[in-house]
Amino acid sequence: MSIDLLEQLSATEVPAPPAELDREVHRRVNHSLLLLHLAELLFKALPYAMVHLAAGLLGLLSYSFTGGRRADGGDRPATPP
């Protein structure tokens, strides 16, 4: 009995996918990409830029007041992310 019941499942027609599916996928993918890029800008690129700008400024101030560069090279930018 249950086999007959379960086999009725295949008798149900599946409608065609909606015409706007591709467009919506494209829109949502682009939205996700935009969010990802914004997150990368906020949490990676901007902190990197601020840290290295601050290092440069500190180096400049240090050079202005002491007349010498830091011996450990700490005022030089590291490898970019």
Binding site: M1, S2, L5, L6, Q8, L9, V14, P17, L21, V25
Partner: protein, 187 residues
């Protein structure tokens, strides 16, 4: 034109590797969406039972495929991986929406979408869907893919990451459970 021909000649796995290198939804990913649109849609519609939810789920599946395109490691076929993502997405959407709300939507949609269906057939089909609601989510998905879409046990095993014998056992137990529930409701 050459690019279009190239995309058509490539296997799913080659396209997936190409899509992983693309920065946005470029030609390879668009070709994959085109190839899998129908299959993903069928899985979503079968598991969620109405066009509105299936549409949401299918979009979500393709977005997940895009965002996780670098994670496909080619240990299985790309098609199996896509089907697995589709099933897991539908299961998580179903968990997110209450069973009661889901059932009401399904019944209402069926009435709206198929006004000319024979009442007896309609009632029996709803009966089956209602009986399937008593199953565990994974068992329900397996039974639907097996009986509604004709997937083999080997395909189910790959999609659900189980052994073939475990799949057979789960489907068999689910069938028994449906049988018992059906007896209880008809007696």
């Amino acid at each position: 034109m050459d690019a279009i021909l190239d995309v058509r000649e490539q296997t799913d796995e080659e396209l997936a590797a190409e899509a992983a290198r693309e920065g946005s939804d470029g030609p390879a990913f668009v070709a994959l969406v085109d190839r899998f649109r129908q299959r993903v849609w069928r899985i979503c519609y079968r598991l969620l039972g109405n066009e509105h939810d299936a549409n949401d789920a299918a979009q979500e599946v393709f977005v997940r495929l895009f965002l996780h395109r670098g994670r496909f490691d080619a240990r299985s076929k790309y098609a199996t991986w896509v089907h697995g993502v589709a099933v897991r997405t539908c299961l998580s959407l179903r968990r997110g929406r209450g069973r009661r709300q889901r059932h009401e939507t399904t019944v209402a949609d069926d009435r709206l979408e198929k006004p000319v269906a024979a009442p007896a057939e309609d009632a029996q089909r709803l009966d089956v869907l209602e009986l399937l609601e008593s199953l565990d989510e994974v068992d329900r998905a397996m039974v639907i893919l097996k009986y509604a879409e004709g997937y083999s046990y080997e395909e189910l095993a790959a999609i659900f990451e189980m052994t073939v014998s475990a799949c057979k056992m789960r489907v068999s137990r689910a069938r028994e459970k449906v049988n018992l529930r059906h007896k209880d409701t008809t007696e």
